[in-house]
């Protein structure tokens, strides 16, 4: 570990190398999502059931199945051969996949091969993302002094949000510098191509870094696990902490993260019908204002502990989501002159009010997410850390967070349909605010996670000290 002034400088290099790479991986992962509508027209044109199947597979498999699988595959590799080379490999894999997505000819040129190639590349992206985060967080934490892990790993925690910010910024910039016809024809490929430049720089930085000192020490003393998967998930002593990390922390964190960033964007675009570019700008401002709080709460968690910062963030989200979204809806109504038009263009006051309401949600994200890397790292011993922390993180985020759009849409659609039936029958409508019904999913999941965290995470104090 690095504690001298020279060490502090080295630690900044470690953070830079790790964070830039992780940020680029998030950027790569999000541009596919942000450009999903245009990608669908190029590779998965409507009206063809086979293409619809491939499109759904690309969406579901990359988010749900492949990410946890990547966590297992690369986590095992990281615990066997080292952190540095493993997360270098994930970076190369992600960069190449992203760049190649931008190069694949569309369906009208090469037929079915186009969507199949895009699907395969998207799966590789999910695999790489599953391996990247755990490696970066572990690598930084294992360089950081024990009492400062929250602060140093919080830089890694900013990368997912900044990656989303960067993806929106690049897309808006590219769109703004060409005609919409050119963007639809070939301009959408530029954000994918840009990735190779950023990944190249990041690889050069990462190649100069040393292996994690804790991993090197463990290897020298023969304390490396030869079967990290077996040791993580079949030995009760470790597996019970994997479950606790998932159900008491990452599950709640996952839904708070997705609600504060993606569901907010979806609600603004689809429910309030705010014009797409304005909706993206609005989210970007909120992300920009809130991002420093990741660092603040990471730093604070070194002083007052991680558990209650994360849990208070979850509790605030549980209590405030419905009032916040009700207020967002009211703001949309006011801006639309009492109704929600087909396309809503916000005036300045409504725009900034919505920025503030999204900011509050991202602020909750920073409380829950800022300290969680240090929390996860300290929960497991060096020998199986990469494997053990990666899986609950990607199941919590990929599965519990990733289910949010489907289940929230199901709940609000069901409520709207019930209201319509009641109106047809001349009965009072059962739901006053059907557009808020989707929020029950993150509220219930975060509530369960809060209770588990509050009652059981206390049990990890001894474990954390032992693994420091």
């Amino acid at each position: 570990m690095l504690s001298s002034q020279k060490g502090q400088k080295g630690l900044v290099s470690v953070i830079t190398a790790s964070s830039v790479g992780t940020l680029i991986e998030w950027y790569d992962f999000y541009i596919f999502g942000s450009l999903a509508a245009i990608i669908a027209t190029k590779f998965f044109p409507a009206g063809n059931p086979t293409l619809a199947l491939l499109s759904t597979l690309a969406t579901f498999a990359a988010g749900f199945v492949v990410r946890p699988f990547g966590a297992l595959f690369f986590g095992r590799l990281g615990d066997l051969v080292g952190r540095k080379y493993t997360f270098l490999l994930t970076l190369v894999l992600m960069g190449l996949s992203t760049f190649l997505i931008g190069c694949v000819p569309d369906y009208s040129t090469i037929g079915y091969l186009a969507p199949v190639l895009v699907l395969l590349l998207r799966l590789l992206q999910g695999l790489a993302l599953g391996g990247e985060y755990g490696g970066a967080a572990t690598y930084v934490a294992e360089h950081a002094p024990v009492g400062e892990r929250g602060f140093w790993t919080s830089w890694i925690q900013t990368t997912a949000t900044i990656g989303l910010f960067l993806s929106l910024l690049v897309i808006i910039t590219v769109k703004g510098n060409m005609s919409s016809t050119d963007f639809a024809a070939w301009g959408w490929r530029i954000p994918f191509w840009l990735s190779i430049v950023m990944v190249g720089i990041s690889i050069l930085i990462r190649l100069r870094m040393q292996e994690s000192p804790l991993f090197v020490a463990a290897k020298k003393s023969g304390q490396i696990s030869s079967h990290p998967l077996r040791d993580s998930f079949t030995k009760k002593y470790n597996f019970k902490f994997v479950l606790l990390a998932l159900l008491g922390a990452t599950m709640g964190q996952g839904v708070v993260w997705y609600t504060g960033q993606f569901y907010a964007l979806s609600f603004i675009q689809n429910t309030l019908k705010v014009e797409v570019a304005q909706a993206s700008q609005l989210i970007m401002w909120a992300l920009l204002f809130a991002t420093p709080f990741f660092i603040f709460f990471g730093w604070l968690s070194d002083r007052v502990g991680r558990k209650w910062i994360m849990l208070i963030g979850m509790l605030l989200a549980i209590v405030c989501y419905r009032p916040i979204y009700a207020s967002m809806y009211e703001t949309g109504l006011v801006a639309g002159g009492g109704t929600i038009p087909a396309v809503l263009v916000l005036d300045s006051a409504s725009f900034w009010k919505l920025v503030a309401l999204v900011f509050v949600q991202v602020f909750f994200v920073t409380m829950v997410y800022g300290p969680i890397a240090a929390f996860l790292v300290e929960l497991f011993p060096t020998a199986i850390r990469y494997t053990s922390m990666s899986l609950p993180y990607h199941v919590g985020n990929g599965i519990f967070g990733g289910l949010l759009p489907a289940i929230a849409t199901y709940l609000s659609t069901k409520a709207t349909a019930a209201n319509e039936i009641a109106i047809q029958k001349g009965l009072p409508t059962p739901y006053n605010q059907p557009y808020l019904e989707g929020l029950w999913y993150p509220i219930i999941i975060a509530s369960i996670s809060f209770v588990i965290g509050a009652f059981y995470i206390h049990a990890t104090t001894q474990q954390s000290k032992k693994n420091a």
Binding site: T50, F64, L243, L246, V395, I399, I407, F455, Y456, A459
Partner: protein
């Protein structure tokens, strides 16, 4: 006292697992299987054979461990 509560709550977590499984199968997987649309088949399979066992299994095992006192702390 708190340890006894942690153990008792273990039964609740197992119940949450079973309810989650019921919800995921009944409200998500089965309607997608029955929709007759090709695009719904993959999500239905993922819900039925990956997500539901994973979520239900996690809660059941966590609840069982809690009930057995695996998460007890010195009081």
């Amino acid at each position: 006292m708190l340890n006894r509560l942690r153990r008792l709550m273990g039964i609740g977590w197992m119940a949450v697992g079973i309810m989650s499984g019921y919800y995921l199968l009944v409200s998500q997987a089965i309607p997608k299987f029955q929709s007759g649309q090709a695009a719904d088949k993959i999500p239905a399979l993922i819900y039925a054979f990956i997500l539901t066992p994973l979520i239900v299994g996690s809660f059941l095992i966590f609840g069982y461990y809690a009930l057995k006192g695996e998460y007890d702390q010195p009081e």
